[in-house]
């Protein structure tokens, strides 16, 4: 068949995610030999880069569409992160190496996790040489975890990973956590094999009995046993395409998960709101015996705790402050996703400035001149109050503020 030289460019709307794929526009990061990251930016006819920049921003925003239904979520989370430190982690297909990228992202993840889930706890386990080792216990102190991650000895890669041993170790600790919190395991797996001493099906059975949810992020390829574990325990399984995608999938684990039907009978959970005092002389805190001048007094046993949120070292009461609880609450009442206003609907009566930052919106005629693929009106509308926001305000409201500014005003 002699095809005339007609270039039929089939443009999907989804094809705008140029940054998601490797530079050649094809699949995985390891397929490219070397990255030409400068190729993404191309000037338009007038020599301006503005269009390209704004299109990148719009694609960034596209990834923000999250699940925003009001459902029951597990706010008090107990999460174990299992890091595979086998020989496959030393591969360099993700820059600078899988292991280094993992540790960098994990630090950011830990900070963000405690920011969004202040009353939750985290623990870290590593697996190498067929055995697993607990780096840090379940605790709510983020600096402790980050310190351990920086220790050089903890970063060495050796041998083969063991899925079963690491899951058993995590399960051992999670079983003792109180039932009103969620029990989760997140596995960062780079290897395609696992070296287990026994039958992993038994382990899966125990996981289901104990209501533990396992999610796995694969760095190499999809492995059937990982997929099965995630399906049976109602977790998520994702395989990484490249560095940016890795960060996206990892950060998807930050919002609290929806509760499964298993645990519906939850009673009251006892929490204490400590009083903050300052003293004339330094006195010892009950948790570390460190002298500090002022602290938080537990309402039950009157002992001093140095930082919140924590568990009182003497009587075991969970101590939180109201801002911590408030930060967790906004996951239950999420801001609805803002819809993009199609170009046709913009008329003379539409607002000319963004409601959030009062920056003027782009004129319609300038937008029309650009590449059709990059056209978006730049206006995003809240479905409840019908006010329009720019893309920056949209990202800010959904990521940081967690409240729509006009909806709050109109509550009166």
């Amino acid at each position: 068949m002699n095809d005339p030289e007609i270039d039929i460019d089939i443009l999907d709307d989804n094809d705008q995610d140029t940054s998601l794929k490797g530079t050649s526009g094809n699949g995985y990061a390891w397929e490219d030999e070397y990255k030409r990251s400068w190729d993404i930016l191309q000037e338009d006819e007038k020599g301006s880069l503005q269009g390209v920049v704004s299109s990148i921003q719009h694609t960034k925003r596209r990834r923000l569409i999250k699940d925003t239904s009001t459902i029951q979520r597990g706010i008090i989370r107990n999460l174990f992160v299992i890091i595979d430190l086998s020989n496959s982690m030393a591969e360099k297909d993700l820059k600078p190496s899988r292991r280094d990228l993992t540790f960098t992202l994990l630090e950011q993840f830990i900070n963000e996790y405690f920011d969004q889930n202040p009353i939750s706890q985290l623990g870290i386990i590593v697996t190498r040489d067929g055995l697993s080792e607990k780096l840090t216990e379940l605790s709510g102190n983020s600096s402790e975890h980050i310190e351990e991650l920086k220790v050089k000895i903890n970063r060495e890669t050796r041998g083969e990973p063991s899925l079963q041993n690491s899951i058993e170790l995590a399960k051992n600790s999670l079983c003792h956590s109180p039932p009103h919190g969620t029990r989760e395991i997140l596995i960062l797996m780079a290897s395609l094999t696992t070296c287990d001493p026994g039958d992993i099906n038994e382990t899966i059975k125990h996981l289901k009995q104990n209501h533990i949810r396992v999610s796995i992020i694969g760095l190499a390829a999809e492995v059937q046993i990982c997929k099965r574990i995630c399906n049976e325990t109602k977790g998520t399984y994702g395989v990484v395409l490249n560095e940016a995608h890795y960060k996206d999938i990892l950060f998807e684990m930050i919002p609290p998960p929806s509760t499964t039907s298993a645990k519906t009978e939850v009673g009251m959970i006892e929490m204490g709101f400590p009083r903050r005092i300052t003293e004339r002389f330094p006195t010892a805190c009950a948790c570390h015996q460190r002298p500090i001048q002022g602290g938080n007094i537990c309402p039950r046993c009157f002992s001093k705790a140095c930082e919140l949120p924590t568990k009182c070292a003497i009587c075991g009461l969970t101590l939180v402050s109201s801002p911590h609880l408030a930060r967790s609450y906004h996951h239950l009442f999420p801001v609805p996703n803002y819809m993009e206003v199609p170009r046709q609907k913009i008329s003379a009566v539409s607002p000319t400035h963004c409601f959030g930052c009062q920056q003027p919106f782009e004129n319609i005629p300038t937008i029309m001149n650009r590449n059709p693929a990059e056209q978006s009106s730049g206006r995003y509308e809240c479905p409840k109050c019908l006010k329009q926001f720019c893309v920056d305000c949209d990202i800010y409201i959904h990521d940081v503020l967690h409240n729509c500014p006009s909806c709050i005003q109109s509550k009166k």
Partner: protein, 564 residues
């Protein structure tokens, strides 16, 4: 004889102790002796308190059995001697002796790795005097934990070994730690076999192979014929060293290695036999019954539906490529090992594989994902969340509407209003100013003083032993308080007793601390004052504990009166 719960009487015979008549009993928990006249148990020896037993000669006048009791190592050993008085004294004694020996053997097994106990003799004693039996593994775990955490070790020595708290109580609030340490993990078999050893080359023409026991196990697992040869020949016919030497120089070993030395001609009877065993004689004649059609590789057109015009497929016949046979055999053996380790292959699964064509044709990835069941948010009283935000805005402020004249009045007064500072009484002003200013100044000075470094300096100037004492007191106080709150609120008589005991210990410790501290002040004066301030927070907690204790005791006593 009166038995405890769960105790079974095994044997009873008449015996005398210290010239008094009675009966000796053996149960499944202990050795006991009752007095004949009153039938009460005068001697009760649980098995873990018996060190050993001995008997005298069967021909002597009195048939005696002596039992040595476990005691403190520096004290004299204690004995109990039983003299058998019945007609069949010797056989009686034999029976008792055997039963006791069996029981002691069981206990000995449990305390097998008792090197642990030798390290800490005091710990050994407290553990031995304990009524409940601890296995040696648990003792090891506790030792490990104490070794790893110096603070815990200090606490343990202070409290448990001085008799203030019992061992059980100490560990009862630390169950989590014990559980964590108990976790053991085994290392699984790696796929890459250790049996493929590369020789470590030396200078010259010598080739050196290093073997460890792990490698030997690996070789036996992957080559069962070598294992058979080993079992038959070593150590009777061939020395172990020679066996391995011959293994490495045999054709068998080099047959799979194509690098270099593949032309070994030495004939070696043992390993040639191995070669013979592994030689391929053609695919096995037995037919595996009922292989499900979906995974049967040899199924051809004959046992399938009519062909669709494709050429008949005869490639899937076992044993067609003879040269690779050894390798394929090895891989199959390896897969067998892996599959055998799975325990969940049972009869029911075998039946399920039965030709469910439809189920096997559907790929989950290509079907639409079913929606996850999500629980809608059911906050019982949703108003309570929003209440705090709403009440502030809903307060109906009594709005007073100003009339025009009133407003004009206000405006007039406002225009002529003047700030009259010189009407204020001067003297008072000065005093007020001074008071306020001084107070503010003091507070700021006090706040800005670096109390922390002062404290640290003071503490460092105290002698090391005093510093350690202070630290120990802190730990002890914390520990006692932890135990106290563990038993709150008081629910039963036993916990009330424990709490009473704890409060007493707490008061004692307070006294001791006060004495210690007054001594410190006497010696070091000012420097010791800051260290006393250090305990302010703790003293508040202690007062609170006393207060709660008094309240709880009142409530509990009232409850008891009601019941009675």
């Amino acid at each position: 004889m009166k038995l405890e719960a769960g105790e079974e009487l095994l044997l009873s015979f008449p015996a005398m102790v210290k010239k008094k008549d009675g009966t000796i009993h053996i149960t499944n928990c202990r050795l006991a002796w009752t007095l004949e006249k009153t039938k009460e148990i005068l001697i009760s020896l649980p098995f873990n308190s018996i060190k050993s037993q001995s008997i005298n000669a069967a021909t002597s006048a009195k048939i005696m059995l002596r039992v040595v009791i476990v005691g403190q190592s520096h004290k004299k050993e204690q004995f109990r001697t039983f003299t058998f008085t019945s007609d069949n004294a010797v056989s009686d004694r034999e029976k008792i002796k055997n039963a006791l020996a069996a029981a002691l053997q069981k206990i000995y097994q449990k305390h097998q790795n008792s090197t642990v106990l030798n390290e800490n003799p005091q710990l050994n004693e407290t553990l031995n005097e304990n009524k409940t039996l601890l296995t040696s593994k648990e003792i090891q775990i506790r030792q490990d934990i104490l070794k790893n955490y110096k603070d815990l070790m200090k606490l343990h020595m202070e409290l448990v070994l001085n008799g203030l708290l019992s061992e059980e109580e100490f560990w009862s609030i630390r169950q989590n730690m014990l559980e964590n340490e108990k976790f053991t993990q085994k290392k699984g078999q790696a796929s890459s076999s250790l049996a493929d050893i590369r020789p470590t080359h030396n200078e010259g023409n010598d080739i050196k192979y290093t073997i460890t026991t792990e490698i030997i196990h690996s070789i036996f697992m992957h080559y069962p014929s070598v294992k058979r040869a080993y079992d038959e020949n070593v150590p009777d016919k061939v020395n172990e060293k020679d066996f391995w030497k011959r293994y490495f120089s045999s054709k068998f070993f080099h047959r799979n290695r194509t690098q270099g030395k593949s032309h070994i001609d030495t004939k070696d009877p043992i390993f040639d036999k191995c070669l013979e065993e592994d030689k391929f004689t053609g695919p096995s004649e037995e037919e595996i019954e009922k292989v499900p059609l979906l995974i049967d590789l040899t199924a051809t057109e004959q046992n399938q539906f009519e062909g669709y015009g494709t050429k008949p497929d005869f490639t899937m016949i076992g044993g067609s490529s003879k040269s690779n046979m050894q390798l394929i055999r090895k891989f199959n053996h390896h897969s067998e090992i892996i599959l055998n380790s799975l325990h969940t292959i049972n009869q029911e699964d075998k039946v399920e594989i039965n030709n469910e064509i439809k189920k096997n044709l559907v790929f989950n990835d290509l079907t639409t994902k079913e929606e996850e069941i999500q629980m809608p948010l059911q906050i019982k009283d949703q108003k309570r969340y929003f209440e705090s935000q709403v009440t502030l805005t809903n307060q109906t402020i009594d709005k007073k509407i100003l009339k025009k004249e009133e407003f004009a009045n206000y405006l007039e007064n406002f225009k002529i209003w003047h700030l009259h500072l010189n009407n204020i009484n001067n003297d008072n002003l000065h005093n007020i100013f001074e008071e306020v200013f001084n107070k503010l100044n003091n507070d700021v000075i006090v706040y800005n003083q670096d109390k922390l470094s002062q404290l640290n300096k003071d503490l460092n100037e105290l002698p090391h032993s005093a510093q350690q004492e202070i630290n120990t007191y802190q730990l002890v106080y914390n520990e006692l308080l932890k135990h106290f709150w563990f038993y709150m609120p008081i629910k039963s008589d036993e916990s009330k007793e424990t709490v009473d005991k704890l409060i007493k210990i707490l008061k004692n410790t307070e006294e001791r601390f006060n004495q210690f501290h007054s001594k410190l002040i006497h010696e070091y004066q000012n420097k010791a004052i800051t260290s006393k301030e250090l305990f302010n927070s703790l003293s508040k907690s202690i007062k609170r504990a006393y207060q709660v204790y008094d309240e709880q005791v009142e409530v509990y006593n009232k409850k008891r009166i009601k019941i009675q």
